[in-house]
């Protein structure tokens, strides 16, 4: 049955070459842990991606309950955490995943750095990777505020003050992030929510696409 559906589509739009191109390629021996166990260091990039997928999925489900409003944000998180079946687990996935993704990202970066895999012709991909790292930090920073508890509030206060120290444009940058000149409040929360859920993920997907396309075009770096 499935095969028939596939054939029916493939006959019309010829999708086989598309997925072949994406999925059908050899893993070189020196990056395959089955051949050399030490090649597990090559897994960190993929693990980062895996955790990112978990973050996206768990985050999508969290927004079914979360409200980005200062009256209700904390209450909605509390409700989801205490009343909703498995809510604690989904929020736990998102909470812990946020830390795990940074760890994986750093391990991946260290591997690339110490193997010198960023060298010509792969400099551009290193740059894209660094941008991805900044996006991740931005996601962590903006997501931290959303539960709207004391820790979230004061961490944001500190973060905004750091932004305010940027030479020349600091004050504008801070206002732009906070949505108000002095208050970290209702407009800050909606802004951070929008940035966390729409703007940064959008940039993340675009850069991840570039990251992956580049590595497929250039191939993984050779053995040491």
């Amino acid at each position: 049955m499935l095969q028939k559906v596939y054939d029916w589509i493939d006959e019309r739009v010829d999708i086989t070459p598309i997925w072949r191109d994406i999925a059908d390629h050899e893993v070189p021996e020196h990056v395959n842990p089955a051949h050399h166990f030490s090649a597990f260091v090559y897994c960190f990039g993929g693990l980062t991606f895996f955790v990112v997928v978990i973050q996206i999925l768990s985050g999508m489900f969290l927004t079914m309950y979360y409200v980005p409003d200062i009256e209700n944000a904390w209450k909605s998180v509390y409700y989801l955490q205490t009343q909703v079946a498995h809510g604690q687990i989904v929020r736990g996935m998102h909470h812990w995943g946020a830390s795990v993704v940074i760890v994986m990202l750093l391990l991946h970066t260290l591997r690339v750095f110490f193997q010198g895999a960023y060298k010509k012709p792969r400099e551009l991909n290193w740059i894209v990777g660094v941008l991805l790292f900044f996006i991740m930090l931005g996601l962590g920073f903006t997501g931290y505020l959303l539960p709207w508890d004391n820790k979230a509030y004061f961490a944001t206060e500190v973060g905004l003050n750091i932004a305010g120290e940027v030479p020349f444009i600091g004050d504008y940058l801070k206002t732009l992030l906070a949505g108000d000149v002095e208050i970290v409040g209702a407009q800050t929360l909606t802004r951070f929510f929008a940035i966390h859920v729409f703007f940064l993920p959008g940039a993340l997907f675009a850069l991840m696409a570039v990251h992956f396309i580049l590595i497929r075009r250039q191939g993984i770096s050779g053995p040491l």
Binding site: I70, E71, E157, Y172, T175, L176, A178, G179, D180, V181, I183, G185, A186, Q187
Partner: protein, 170 residues
């Protein structure tokens, strides 16, 4: 430019026109969202309304006292009453000084003679930050600059305070 009769080819013409039209459409789509996003930066700074803090001028002594008052805070669509506080005293010249209690190190609350070890100073309990009576930070303690000073005025014998502003020097 010697060739004054430079022809625009059909392809060039179409390229320019389509790029122009596309540019207008993109600008049209982005202008309003961008203006909306940067609106907070372009808001005129709120008029510094001074509020009556409920302290008569004659009650202000040379000993700093803590005053608290409430102001209406408008945060977008959310209006609330917030409590503000200040340390108020008269300095040697008889001028009223109103200092913000927010420590310039990491934002804890300082209090006058908050530590028995340091009389005649403002003391921050978080990291032992200290300020002299005029609000100047004691060198060698964590605060990087003096305490902020409130805008102030006296009307009908009552003290009115506005916003706290940082001052120069340290």
């Amino acid at each position: 430019m010697s060739d004054y009769k430079q022809q625009v080819s059909r392809r060039q013409f179409l390229n320019y026109t389509l790029t122009g039209v596309g540019g207008f459409m993109a600008a049209g789509m982005l202008a309003s969202p961008l203006r909306m996003a940067i609106d907070p930066v372009l808001q005129p700074s709120r008029s510094g309304d001074l509020a009556n803090v409920g302290l008569a001028e004659e009650d202000i002594t040379t000993e700093p006292q803590r005053v608290e008052w409430k102001v209406e805070q408008v945060d977008g669509w959310y209006e609330s009453e917030v409590t503000k506080s200040a340390w108020v005293f008269k300095n040697d010249k008889g001028e009223i000084v109103a200092l913000s209690p927010v420590c310039k190190h990491l934002g804890c609350m300082v209090s006058w003679e908050g530590s028995e070890k340091y009389p005649n100073e403002f003391f921050c309990p978080c990291h032992d930050g200290r300020y002299y009576k005029d609000g100047t930070n004691v060198p060698g303690t964590p605060p990087p600059e003096p305490l902020d000073v409130f805008e102030q005025k006296v009307e009908n014998g009552m003290l009115f305070l506005g916003k706290a502003h940082p001052r120069k020097g340290a």
